[in-house]
């Protein structure tokens, strides 16, 4: 076996190992100088991104990859899975793609954004740790491993949220985040123990195969969903999110979007795969619960966004509203799938709704991420985030203004941008479940447009203010980072079919066919 084959056969492990090793090398390389360190971090994330693409191609070509850690000997012995595995299907790799795009862009953006700050070596170490945690969360096939990666992600992101420890509000936001995610994670561990005690397994595929939906399983399901939705920032458990997004440095807000979505991936994985064989059993449909949570999230997010006066806080509430769409579409799909009377074959709109939602995961990450970067750029140039004090910036920061317009159109679902493609799929399909749902969805999208037009008017338009006379365009690295995201947004908006058939459809199939996830159990490994 030559060297390239050897590397490729271990690619799934390398996805986590490379950023993790990079994280611990970063403080050493910082000793040389800042420039080398920045190039090193961008390089590490770039290499990880290449590996994600290689693994993605492999997964989309040949189906689910199961990577066993430690040994090539038999993994299932005496009906027990004795090793830790990474199980990568199309949905996992889709989420990994979202995370790595955000982390890579954030590392480029940080170069300019943090130029004058101290403590950069710790910042980059934590950024790489957070990336490793997010990738681990979406790739793992083992529940306890999932818990460990959740904790790695939340410790690293809490420390990063409170990066500006000289600001009392930032420390408060970091404390809030770590407090809530620790309680959430402890209850997830409790639920994992409930399942382990009954089925003597921690492997997701093995558990999904043997689950029988006893009383304890129901308790575990409720704990899983509420804890993961809390970490995902779904209303009514969203109180930490505007603080964390609003107070963190802008590139961290960008990566946090990915961390939140990794938790939402957890909700879907639990519902569709772990409980995939028994999800039609409960009398109350979990699909409707997801739909209701999605609707409340959209409405509350948009209404709270309207009354904010802080730039980043407003975008954070916009991000809450966007999360609602993701829950809405997947909830619609689950309602049909979990109802054997209707069946997926006679209701093709369920699959359309899920396609819209899964596509919206990446669109939401890109749109909200771009807006956060614009807010960071405005803060970098003016040291001001209050909308009342800003104005007339379009004259001095023309590229930033263009990027804001792209983000604004994309987040509110205006045609040439990517947000339109996914939201249209969600509107069309939820209309067939219940017209009122899609009316509320369209309404909150229009309200989002109103909110962001308001920011555009008060930050970028208006007369030139005297105090912003010497404001300059932000450094090149920040413009490049925003440019990358903006061009991906336009590309997705112009060719949505390409993305949906190549990336989104396999991911939806991975969700609605849990039997593919369990294949290796019967096939032997």
């Amino acid at each position: 076996m030559n060297f390239i084959d050897l590397i490729m056969s271990h690619a799934p492990a390398l996805l986590v190992v490379i950023p993790l090793l990079g994280a611990f090398l970063t403080p050493l390389i910082s000793k040389i100088n800042d420039k080398v360190r920045n190039i090193f971090v961008i390089g590490i994330l770039g290499v990880t991104a290449v590996f994600v693409l290689l693994v993605a191609q492999q997964v989309l070509d040949t189906g689910t990859i199961t990577y066993v850690f430690g040994s090539s000997l038999q993994t299932v012995q005496n009906n027990t899975v004795i090793r830790i595995l990474f199980e990568i299907d199309a949905l996992s790799i889709f989420m990994a793609l979202v995370s790595i795009i955000l982390a890579f862009v954030a590392s480029i953006y940080s170069w300019g954004f943090l130029e004058k700050e101290t403590g950069q070596d710790k910042y980059y170490t934590l950024l790489l740790l957070m990336t490793a945690g997010m990738l681990g969360m979406v790739l793992t096939g083992d529940l306890f491993n999932f818990f460990v990666f959740i904790e790695i992600t939340s410790i690293a992101s809490a420390a990063l949220i409170a990066f500006w420890t000289n600001k009392a509000k930032a420390v408060e936001a970091g404390f809030k985040y770590i407090f809530i995610s620790t309680i959430g994670a402890l209850f997830i561990l409790f639920a994992i123990a409930l399942l382990y005690g009954q089925y003597n397994a921690l492997n997701i595929a093995k558990l999904a195969d043997s689950i029988t939906f006893t009383y304890l399983d129901k308790i575990a399901l409720i704990i899983f969903i509420s804890a993961l939705a809390m970490k995902g920032g779904i209303v009514p458990m969203h109180m930490w999110l505007p603080d964390a997004y609003g107070r963190a440095p802008a590139p961290i807000s960008l990566v946090l979007v990915g961390a939140t979505q990794a938790s939402i991936y957890g909700v879907f994985r639990v519902l569709f795969t772990l409980y995939g064989n028994v999800i039609h059993l409960p009398k109350i449909s979990f699909g409707w619960i997801l739909v209701l949570l999605g609707l409340i999230t959209m409405i509350v997010g948009v209404i709270m966004a309207m009354i904010q006066t802080d730039f980043k806080r407003l975008i954070a509430y916009g991000a809450v509203a966007e999360l609602g769409y993701i829950f809405l579409g997947v909830g619609t799909g689950l309602t049909i799938i979990a109802n054997p009377d209707i069946g997926i074959s006679s209701a093709p709109f369920a699959v359309e709704a899920m396609k819209g939602s899964i596509f919206h995961i990446i669109n939401d990450a890109l749109d909200v991420g771009l807006l956060f970067m614009v807010a960071g750029a405005v803060y970098y140039a003016t040291k001001e985030t209050s909308l009342n004090n800003l104005g007339g910036l379009a004259r001095n920061m023309k590229y930033t203004t263009i990027f804001f317009i792209i983000g604004l159109l994309a987040i509110s679902g205006i045609p040439p941008m990517n947000g339109f493609a996914s939201k249209l799929l969600i509107y069309e399909s939820t209309y067939q479940l219940n017209p009122i749902i899609s009316i509320i969805a369209i309404l909150s999208s229009i309200m989002l447009l109103a909110v962001f037009v308001k920011i555009f008017q008060s930050v970028f338009l208006g007369p030139k203010l005297k105090k912003f006379d010497d404001v300059k365009e932000v450094p090149k690295s920040m413009l490049i980072a925003m440019g990358i995201i903006a061009s991906i947004i336009i590309f997705f908006g112009l060719f949505p079919d390409l993305i949906i058939t190549n990336l989104v459809e396999p991911a939806v199939n991975a969700l609605i066919h849990p039997e593919n996830y369990l294949q290796w159990l019967t096939g032997g490994l």
């Binding site: 460990v148 009392a168 420390v171 970091g174 402890l186 409790f190 921690l202």
Partner: protein, 116 residues
Amino acid sequence: MIANIPYVAVAVLIIIGLYTVIFRKNLIKMLIGITIIQSGVNLFLVSLGYREGGIAPIFTSVPNTDSAMMYPVPQALTLTSIVIGVAVLALMLSFIVHMYRHTKSLDVRQFGGDDQ
């Protein structure tokens, strides 16, 4: 019945912890609440792994009798969870130190208020 006592203890610990987290106003006390929940969950994991008459799974000390060896996964999980808990606790305490420096108070009611 006597075998269920650990599980009762788990429930009591988690409920005390949740009560502390929700109703106490002092940041340090809330932190203690989290550690109590953590102890409850760890106790749950360890008591799941207990088998009467089982022995530690050390290869060189396999007995000739037919007493069962333990499957050591729950103990491994508990150790990992304790280590993670220490890291989280240290981070939260450092946050509390920073907040105390800013506001000279540990009362949780001083926070928030910028959300209209």
